[in-house]
């Protein structure tokens, strides 16, 4: 961090920024301690995890307040603390952390949601015998995620990234006794790994080009003007600049983590994990990490863009996001597993965020990220509560009429559902989604994303209505009576519900506080924000769309209670399409016949090579040497040994002759010695005398 | 005047030799000195014998000799006359030559020892560079004479006594040497005069005798034990243990030869306590600085007589050891402790001036001595007798 000061003398790092590393360190430390705890120490483990998490939350709030304070003074502060990790000759690999509006907001969101989920899982997991292990993993995950958030260096970010990947693997496979869970864990790990490989490539390339992995370093960081212009000057393939190419590689990593279209397959299966995990990892935080990453490297993506214009990288991001949004929403329509529906909705919402990033900039995407984090966590935990209440039942067709059975859950769930659908004016989802739609409307490249996103909104409203209707309305089709979940689970739901509503106020056109905060310029309240041309019309359209979706869903599913075995309404209508959707458009199968088959074939080929070609060569060499050895053995036996035996016999006979002299009398030997001395001395003297 | 009193014998010698021609003076001086020594110590011997008999008598609650002269003072003279007039018996089967040589060798060797012991300021016969070595060389030859005596008088008691004596003397010579080597290490010289000079100074009124240092004290104790054994004194007087073998190696001796043996033993006592005095008790130096006016030779001889009294006292007090106990004591107790003493002396030498060396050395010695004493005092050390050395 001495470097940072020496690089940027005008920038004073506040003690709070110095202490920022504590935020991830605390959960990681508690994870380390929890790993050493005995299984029976359930309370200790939970207290440890929750305590460390709340400490991190306090620190995060402090940091947020600090940033707010500096923002009030005009431009928002960006404080970095950098230090050299490895020094090899002239080149050094630096690590560091950063405190700016983006990281501050993310910190608060992650710690808050995480804390709530921790509390929730105390109730949810209380019957599990691996309670302590679960909390150890959770803390580890939170730590990794927070490290990703505060990282000011792509390398540190990557470390946290991989830590997060590892913990998600551990948590998805938490009930590893179930084959499905184990398989899902493996799938998630491998799929994200594909993305990470691209990410790593991008990182290496970046380092090779700029010589640093720090984002901001008082002018010499890789996200700052000098480095960016250097990257732009460097041409790459497909008419991309190096900046764009690296951006795309990093985006591939992000796509892997936040389940964008080609790599989304792991996310639904990840629902095999415990529900809090689904809520924490696969709704609120980890999948958001991809979006956050794109936001972090946004300067890289945007580099070379004309004012208001876009770049190739951003265009790719947009298209992928938009497509994913619609695609996942379509699949969600035809699912019957409560958590799978939510998973696909998550994917589609992530698509929205990506599209927002691509078209509207950091603020738009991040705003939707924040709001979505809260209401999607709410929904997942509501679903968990439902599953918990209805005895581990996950099929929505086997539920129904839970409205009366679990009122708290129903209320909060409804709030979350409406927020997700973007119910007008009162719910945060509406405003954040509106922001994205507005950005899409004004996008200069194409109109198609706008329509796709609007259609996605319609589908979202539709499948959420279907789900709610199946779960909470109609007559109960459950075998056993459901019951309300304990207070420790419902309380977090309530809190999340509050945020799901309230957060919307931060991003209304009338008072675009969030955007201003992230972009770091002042903001004031004024209804003239709505006066912007087309905005009201857009709001109207989306409202109409939402109501259309709700109404359609209610018309088809509301009030009636179809038995599980009888086909779905739409299925009877358009069976073919339905089948496709039911099988998730056969993406998995497609991969099965293409990628996986190819790898299987390749493995066979390599095996054959190993056995036949290399193995054969080795065997041949071995055979040659064996032959040589055989020859040597023959030579030894016949010649060498034979010769030795002969020689030994001769020696033995000679010794026998000589030993006559040795009659065992000491004095004889002495006598001979003395004689020899006499002779020797005589010779010496005689020779020396002459 | 004081100076004169101190140096009186030296002056006397010079005055006497003054009459002779120059080429004779050196030899004459040596001859005179030898004559003096040879006359002086027998006189002391007589005194010591009387002292011993009277003292032992007192200790054993009886009168000692009290017939000859007032309080039996003349007893030694009577003894001398008797031993001179007695018939000199040589056993028939004895090896006459060796039998005759043995006492002579003994007495000669013993008297040789006095050549290097300083008996007062400037009162040493030969100030030899390797004085201590010479002394031990001479004392080593006495063992041979003892063996000669025992073997030559074809008598199993004599032989046994001689073997015992020789074994004992050899075993106790080692600790004797070791304990004196400590002194040599500190002084840095083998010359006895130098050793005395090194001790002849005072802090306040107290002298710098080696016995007043930790290693010196321990070394002196060891030295005393070793000398007691070396001179075959009780409690180490097995070689002439009357109850077991009549009179040890001089059973077959009578008359003048016996007297010579007797004399030899006592003179050996004198010389070895003289050496002890020189090594540890500051030789002829006065015990207190304000007593330096007393002539040095008086101090020397009074110290010798004092140690003789200690010998007598010990003899009157302690019972006789068993042969195996004796040997075990020598090799398993005294020798290790003297070796330790060497180590401590080296430590003392290299710790330099200051209080630390006092603390460290005393601590080490105290700890080890106590520990070893406890080990030796354990009951199972007094087992059934093993006839290893007395077969």
């Amino acid at each position: 961090m001495q470097e940072s000061i020496s690089f940027t003398p005008q920038l004073i790092t506040s003690p709070l920024a110095e202490m920022l590393w504590l935020i991830p360190a605390l959960p990681i430390g508690s994870a380390g301690i929890g790993a050493l705890l005995k299984q029976s120490k359930r309370k200790t483990a939970a207290a440890l995890a929750i305590g460390s998490m709340s400490l991190s939350l306090l620190l995060a709030l402090a940091a947020f307040a600090h940033v707010l304070g500096s923002w009030a003074g005009g431009v928002a502060a960006r404080e970095t603390v950098n230090f050299t990790w490895i020094q090899v000759g002239a080149t050094s690999v630096d690590l560091g952390w950063i405190l700016d509006p983006l990281s501050a907001v993310m910190l608060v969101m992650v710690t808050l949601v995480g804390l709530l989920i921790f509390i929730y899982s105390v109730g949810y997991m209380e019957h599990d015998e691996n309670f302590t292990r679960f909390f150890c993993f959770l803390s580890l995950f939170a730590g990794g995620m927070l490290a990703v958030v505060i990282a000011n260096s792509l390398l540190l970010l990557y470390m946290g990234w991989e830590l997060v990947g590892l913990t998600s693997y551990l948590l998805i496979g938490f009930w590893y006794q179930r084959p499905a869970a184990a398989a899902a864990a493996k799938k998630a790990f491998l799929t994200t790994r594909i993305g990470d490989v691209f990410f790593l490539l991008g990182m290496v390339w970046l380092f090779a080009q700029t010589g640093t992995l720090l984002f901001y370093n008082g002018g010499s960081g890789s996200m700052e003007h000098t480095a960016l212009s250097a990257l732009l000057a460097q041409p790459a393939t497909f008419g991309l600049s190096a900046a764009g190419a690296i951006g795309l590689l990093i985006f591939a990593g992000a796509a892997g983590k936040s389940g964008q279209f080609p790599l989304h397959v792991w996310l639904p299966d990840a629902m095999e994990g415990p529900t809090p995990v689904s809520a924490l990892i696969h709704a609120a935080t980890m999948v958001a990490a991809g979006v956050y990453l794109v936001a972090r490297v946004y300067p890289l993506m945007q580099a070379g863009a004309l004012t208001g214009g876009t770049t190739t990288a951003l265009t790719v991001v947009t298209w992928v996001g938009a497509f994913t949004a619609v695609f996942a929403a379509l699949i969600a329509v035809a699912q019957n597993d409560i958590k799978r529906i939510l998973a696909y909705s998550t994917i589609s919402q992530l698509g929205y965020m990506m599209a927002g990033l691509g078209m509207g900039g950091v603020a738009v995407g991040m705003f939707h990220l924040i709001t979505h984090a809260f209401f999607k966590a709410l929904l997942f935990m509501g679903a968990g509560s439902v599953i918990h209440g209805s005895h581990e039942e996950q099929d929505i067709r086997k539920m129904g009429g839970l409205k009366s059975a679990m009122p708290w859950t129903f209320g909060t769930y409804a709030v979350g559902m409406l927020a997700l659908c973007g119910f007008p004016l009162f719910f945060s989802g509406f405003w954040s989604k509106d922001g994205i739609l507005e950005a899409a409307q004004h996008w200069s490249v194409a109109r198609a994303p706008f329509y796709m996103l609007v259609f996605g909104a319609l589908l979202t409203a539709f499948y959420m209505t279907r789900q709610v209707a199946y779960v909470f309305f109609g007559a109960s089709r459950a075998s056993k009576a459901a019951h309300e979940s304990p207070r420790v689970m419902t309380l977090p739901l309530a809190i999340l519900a509050f945020f799901a509503v309230a957060l919307g106020a931060l991003g209304t056109p009338a008072w675009p506080w969030f955007k201003a905060f992230l972009d770091g310029h002042a903001v004031g309240f004024g209804l003239e924000g709505f006066a912007e041309p087309g905005l009201l019309a857009l709001m109207a359209t989306s409202t109409v769309v939402v109501f259309l979706g709700l109404g359609l869903g209610w018309k088809l599913y509301g009030g009636k209670s179809p038995q599980p075995e009888q086909p779905d309404v739409l299925e009877s209508a358009v069976p073919v399409v339905w089948g496709w959707l039911r099988n998730r458009l056969c993406v998995d199968e497609f991969y099965g016949v293409t990628v996986i088959a190819f790898y299987g074939w390749w493995a066979k080929v390599s095996d054959w090579l190993d056995r036949r070609v290399w193995g054969g060569a080795v065997a041949g060499v071995a055979w040659v040497f064996r032959g040589w050895a055989e020859f040597n053995r023959f030579f030894d036996n016949t010649w060498v040994n034979g010769g030795f035996d002969k020689g030994c016999e001769d020696l033995a006979t000679g010794g026998g002759l000589l030993s006559r002299v040795q009659n065992g009398r000491a004095q004889t030997y002495l006598r001979i010695l003395a004689l020899a001395v006499v002779a020797l001395a005589a010779i010496l003297i005689w020779s020396s005398r002459a | 005047m004081i100076e004169k009193m101190d140096q009186i014998f030296v002056l006397l010698l010079h005055w006497l030799t003054g009459f002779l021609p120059a080429w004779l003076q050196a030899i004459a001086g040596v001859v005179i000195c030898v004559a003096v020594i040879v006359c002086l110590y027998p006189a002391l011997f007589a005194l010591a014998v009387l002292l011993e008999r009277k003292g032992l008598g007192r200790m054993q609650n009886r009168y000692g000799p009290n017939r000859v002269g007032p309080y039996g003072i003349l007893q030694p003279i009577a003894d001398g006359v008797k031993s001179l007039t007695k018939e000199d018996i040589v056993p028939l089967s004895a090896d006459a030559v060796v039998h005759f040589l043995a006492p002579v060798v003994l007495v000669v060797a013993v008297f040789m020892g006095f050549a290097v012991v300083p008996m007062g300021r400037n009162m040493v016969l030969v100030d030899m560079d390797a004085g201590l070595l010479f002394y031990f060389a001479m004392s080593a030859t006495t063992e041979l004479s003892v063996f000669m005596a025992g073997w030559s008088s074809r008598n199993k008691y004599s032989l046994l006594g001689a073997m015992r004596a020789v074994a004992q003397m050899i075993s106790y010579e080692v600790p004797l040497l070791m304990s004196s080597v400590a002194v040599v290490m500190i002084t840095g010289s083998l010359s006895l005069t130098k050793i005395v000079d090194a001790q002849n100074s005072y802090t306040g009124i107290f002298p710098h005798w080696y016995i007043f240092t930790p290693w010196g004290f321990a070394g002196f104790v060891m030295y005393a034990i070793a000398t007691t054994a070396e001179t075959n004194r009780s409690p180490f007087d097995l070689p002439e243990g009357e109850s077991e073998l009549v009179a040890g190696y001089h059973t077959e001796y009578s008359g003048f030869k016996f007297a010579l043996f007797f004399l030899g033993e006592y003179v050996a006592m004198f010389s070895i306590s003289g050496l002890g005095t020189t090594l540890f008790l500051g030789g002829w130096s006065a015990p207190f600085s304000f007593l330096t006016w007393v002539p040095s030779w008086i101090w020397f001889f009074s110290k010798i007589m004092l140690s003789i009294c200690v010998f007598i006292w010990v003899r009157g007090t302690l019972p006789r050891l068993r042969q195996d106990q004796l040997m075990n004591f020598a090799w398993k107790f005294v020798l290790p402790l003297t070796l330790l003493n060497l180590f401590v002396a080296a430590l003392w030498r290299f710790l330099g001036e200051g209080w630390e060396r006092w603390v460290f050395c005393s601590a080490i010695l105290a700890v080890v001595y106590v520990a070893m004493g406890l080990v030796e005092m354990r009951r199972d050390h007094f087992g059934p007798r093993k006839y290893r050395y007395a077969e």
Binding site: G655, S659, R665, Q667, L670 | -
Partner: protein, 103 residues
């Protein structure tokens, strides 16, 4: 005849006496004594050379003699110990009887 030569001759004579004894006596102990004599003769040589050599202050011969005395003492101890154990074993110290170690 110079002193050095005289000492050397005495040493040679002593050596030869020791050798003769070692060669002619049957008693193992006496053979050992002969060997000791030879060693001492060598010592005498060393000392004589030290005394009359060019560099007495270097002490070479003296040291040689001292060390050889020490070694001789060790040799005597071990040798006599061997003789005793042999005697215990064979009940004789006659070297003519001890010819078991013949080839």
């Amino acid at each position: 005849m110079t002193p050095l030569a005289g000492f050397l001759l005495v040493a040679a004579l002593l050596f030869s006496i020791g050798l003769a004894g070692a060669l002619t006596r049957r008693n193992a102990i006496l053979v050992l004594i002969g060997i000791e004599l030879m060693l001492n003769a060598a010592n005498l040589n060393l000392i004589a050379f030290w005394r009359y050599g060019p560099h007495p202050e270097a002490l070479t011969g003296m040291m040689f003699a001292i060390f050889s005395i020490a070694v001789a003492a060790a040799e005597a101890a071990v040798g006599l110990g061997l003789v005793i154990s042999i005697y215990r074993h064979a009940h004789t110290t006659d070297l003519d009887m001890m010819n078991r170690m013949k080839g």
